[in-house]
Symmetry: D2
């Protein structure tokens, strides 16, 4: 079912996304009509397992799908793949019927979900969350303010991180229907890049959900497991954006004259592009290696347990950090090439630089990632590569 997924993605990007780059960067209302067409093309939520009626693509395949999508528009890519975090968590740690219901609907309807973790005070340090989960008979009541979450407004359901009101160390993830009373989306952020996607602040006030909506396991560990999928695809965004940078450089160089010859025949230019091509290859191979490790764990007899024990994978952490850093180098080199024109909004390079910036920021900035890598994979000598 996923055989020609990549080919179909490429075609969709060529005909639907690339012509709309500027419009997507203008922060359109989301979801845009593109999202409907993406679903009509049978491509939405391509990773959803076949048991829910989804296409069942692996994360390895998803790396290239996301690379193609971000070649077109990183914001559209982000909005399209980020649900993988919520769906993976629901699939692995959610009640069976709950998962069945939501994920089947999502596979059929092309909807999305959102994950509400970050808070203004706590930032990305989940153990400092101020969101409370209060047990009340067979129900859970959630209260909190969430800072940044993507797709929230249009989501079918939200996965909300919080701690037990009566047990500060009891972290949990809870599925909350988007239309549950007490859920309010308070604003859409005006983002620097990824402007084809929608990121929001939201409030939960006395939101009641059945106790079965609580995902099993410690919420922090659940999250670590699930973040592997989204971190790898965030990294993959950098591949597609870097490929686009390379290609706009080549297009410019084919017509621009420097020192009496076309730029494309200039040795200094060639050296820069040769370096970029290596960087693109390395970024992709790192993402593919991380995705293969993730796919391996998902194929394990007890995938939930295997991923829970594994936690944040070195390869996924390294993928996100490396692609953020290498992608930024590519963007930096690219942004120096177009003279004054590249400093105007008439050229796409400025957008590509802005889009790329997010890779090193979301779901753990580089400082957080370095800390995790050190604590998990360097300090314990047996875990070192």
């Amino acid at each position: 079912m996923t055989d020609d997924l990549l080919e179909r993605t490429r075609k969709f990007v060529d005909t639907e996304v690339l012509p709309e780059t500027a419009w997507l960067d203008a922060r359109p209302d989301v979801p845009t009509p593109l999202t409907s067409r993406w679903h009509e093309a049978g491509l939405s939520n391509w990773w959803l397992p076949e048991r829910y009626g989804g296409p069942g693509a692996s994360l390895s395949t998803s790396v290239d799908v996301v690379s193609e999508l971000s070649y077109g528009d990183a914001g559209f890519a982000f909005g399209s793949f980020l649900s993988i975090l919520g769906t993976t968590l629901l699939h692995l740690y959610g009640d069976h019927d709950l998962a069945d219901g939501y994920l089947t609907r999502m596979a059929g309807g092309g909807g999305c979900c959102a994950i509400l973790i970050s808070e203004q005070e706590a930032g990305s340090e989940l153990h400092r969350t101020a969101t409370t989960i209060t047990a009340d008979g067979d129900a859970l009541v959630l209260d909190g303010e969430k800072y940044f979450s993507t797709n929230t407004d249009a989501a079918d359901f939200l996965i909300v991180a919080g701690r037990a009101a009566d047990d500060p160390s009891g972290y949990s993830l809870v599925l909350v229907p988007r239309d549950a009373p007490g859920v309010e989306v308070t604003k859409r952020w005006d983002m620097i890049g990824l402007r084809g996607s929608g990121t929001y602040a939201a409030t939960l006030r006395g939101v009641r959900v059945p106790a079965v909506n609580r995902l099993s396991g410690n919420g922090l560990r659940d999250l670590e497991a699930g973040l592997n999928a989204s971190r790898i695809l965030i990294a993959a965004t950098a591949i597609g954006t870097a490929r686009r940078v390379r290609d706009v450089c080549m297009a410019y160089a084919a017509t621009k004259k420097v020192k009496g010859a076309l730029l494309v025949d200039n040795d200094v230019f060639a050296a820069k592009l040769g370096q970029m091509e290596a960087q693109i290859d390395v970024m992709r191979n790192q993402c593919l290696a991380a995705a293969a490790q993730f796919d391996g764990l998902m194929a394990a007899p007890n995938a939930s347990g295997a991923l829970y024990r594994a936690g944040a994978l070195r390869s996924a952490l390294a993928a996100k950090m490396h692609c953020g850093q290498a992608g930024w180098q590519v963007a930096t080199t690219g942004s120096e090439m177009f003279g004054g024109l590249g400093f105007t909004h008439e050229h796409v390079i400025g957008k590509l630089v802005r889009d790329l910036r997010y890779v090193g920021l979301v779901e753990g900035g580089d400082d957080v990632v370095r800390d995790l890598l050190f604590g998990r994979y360097v300090l314990p000598a047996a875990k070192r590569l």
Copy 2:
């Protein structure tokens, strides 16, 4: 007369510019009311020699003035100092009376001038200009299309680069009044940064000026001489912007908690800021050294000849390239610090990154600067440091 120039600039920035950062970034009509207040404060065109009624500040002083202005807004700084290129050329190579008239008016009125060099085809390679200068009796007739020039629309006068219609190697600079018939500003560019300034495309069609408006000397050499001043001040923009980056990092760190403590007490943060402080110091000292060299040449008995012979100064080229590169590193480090918030337009860091980008692009990108440095200062062994 320039004793308290720096102090007055700081005060102006504090009270007038800093509160308007967001508004200036919204691409207001220019010149903005700020420009009038800058003139009313007696600070406009602060480098104009006293013989024209100007404050007569040195380029060394100007480095710090520009650093202060760009701390407030790099676009406002750019718009305020870029006239130095035109005024320096007119002062050095223009007819005495012509210079007297225009520069005296400018000192009194707080106006600006623009320099029209770049063209779409020729880019920054001035020897490929397609703008023609045709002698017609006692007049010169100019025809051409100019791609990027700043302050053009509001300028008192323009300095236009072109070649003799009958001598392709006869490059000249010609002063053209802004209101000369045939001068048309065709658009204001939508720039990525420096949005508090105005950069334009312009057309000259059969523009007639007296022959005395032609600056003496070969236009390419004249330009090289004058570009020293503006390149050094472009470099100085990076100092001010980097200082602002540092300070917004410190402000954030004073309230943000990470790992149970304020970010300002975090050793990794401290290391980043310590590195920034060194980079700021080095940028400033390079700009000051280049400015001192320029001031020395300007103080020579035959400044015009001395600068004409010197051409592009190593120190000025190095200042622009180094500040572009080091400033970009500071901006990159800074832009990683604010988590999601730093990826929104609610935080100023995104603007600072966009503003900083221009230092490595205008008046010779890094590739051009490296070529110049190699050809002028490495290849001839006697010229090497």
Copy 3:
């Protein structure tokens, strides 16, 4: 047969190589007794196909073998794996019986071979070789001076690059027995690093070999095919050396006090090591991806043809360049950590920096690699990633 290859390699390194790091760096006569013990352990030339009686390990496995060996000593690793270039060429493009004879002997005896390409004038530009191959009846006569080649003195056979005396565009590789009359090793270079291996200059004067010793195909294309194997393993040297850098940093940090606490508890140190771990992971995944591509081509029905057509693989070029650059960053960071001690020969870090330097230099420096990547994989749009 290769199941426990990696485990046995690790053990060999622990017991035999690591204790001899300083001695290996003192430029001992080669081959050292270590090489004999490596062979006695059944580990020499581990990649040789089983049809010749070799262990038949894949290049993917070899990446980790080389990483382990270079953890012990990069020079010992280099001397041990570099024969893969010659044996791969002989296996793919050599006469069947010739290959059978030499490679079977090598598998049994633990010998090595050398490849003589570089020349003083031509450098790494093989098409400028001045070595001539003159047909004389059923024999070929070779004359030339070769600049850098490793293992030459102890080799069973040499693969020599040259051009036909009567056809300047007729590049060939020719197998020359080490003991053929006219072959003279003129000096062993005093290398900066990899001092546990031997690199030589050599002269060929009227060296006669049978015509069957000429490898089939154009010598330049043959070489490109074969260099994939050695370039990937050169890249893998950087993995092992970087792992060693990380571990000596950790060992030092476990006892060194800074600001009143152990260095290992210092956040700035942790950040550096977390970055290193990511770099190591990325280097390894790139090498493994390149090796998997190479192994795939070698497993093709017509491996010779497949590799001949493929030429220099993007992944192999990117592996060598990336590992050279990332490895150098790791070495640079590491070399700053040990204070004065790290600037003495009493600490191993200086050796590790020297060893690492070669990755970006041999078998195509970064400038050559960037040129190749641009020409082969960026300029033809269809070849881009």
Copy 4:
């Protein structure tokens, strides 16, 4: 008296030092005959004030002197200038007669002094020194083990850092004659670079000196004041070494052919050298700016107090860190240029890389410098640039 100092230095380097590069790198016994000839040429200890009979050169002049010397050999430079730390401390904080005696002798005899700070446990953290200073009547008794100190063996006198035996917070610097009983030089380190200088470990056991030998003020503050001079000249070593790297690149490029043309005509090469020239210019201007600040303080009416209050200068810290980092980039670029030859001891580039490494290590590694810059110049907002 210092008018032609620079010219004489250049001549000395050309005729005496440059021909001996390889010999100096072979770790000759020190002081070498070169040191005598340097003194005979009237150039030794060129910074010693005229009141002691010295040449009285400023630190600004010294920056260029050291750049010239390190162009010849960084080790010879280091050995020649490092006494400035001890002489500056003695001049500023020593008893008048004591300073007079030792510095006059040194000016006349061309001797050197050493400063014994670092210890194995305490590293560069002076406040953790285990060296004790015990008052015994009119005498002081010193006991301790010092790890790294340069020129110790040949020194006229040593400045030793320690703490009062009866007051752990009582840090002092004490002048100890080299030939005082109980002073033992225990070994000469085998350094990676700067091998033309001598660095030692030393022991002090019951070393008795008159109480007047204690320098006034807190030893830690004294040191900070004095380190400004040596840190700036250490930074200046990077200038000279980088200039040498540039020139060996140019010499190679004048004869080496690449892609059918001389390397010197290759655009990628030109770009690298253009970048280097800018880096050299920036390094020098930073050192000169720091030196000018130091010279200004030394010229103040109360230089001792002024420097004591100023402590570690931002400009000096930034000079050392920047030159270490930029110099390393130049060395890295240079070391990639010479193919295999550059990886042998037959080419000087390897030595230049080794020499350059020390700039970022001694008298405060980059981590220490960043900490100082943050604590002194960023945290107190009023101190920021």
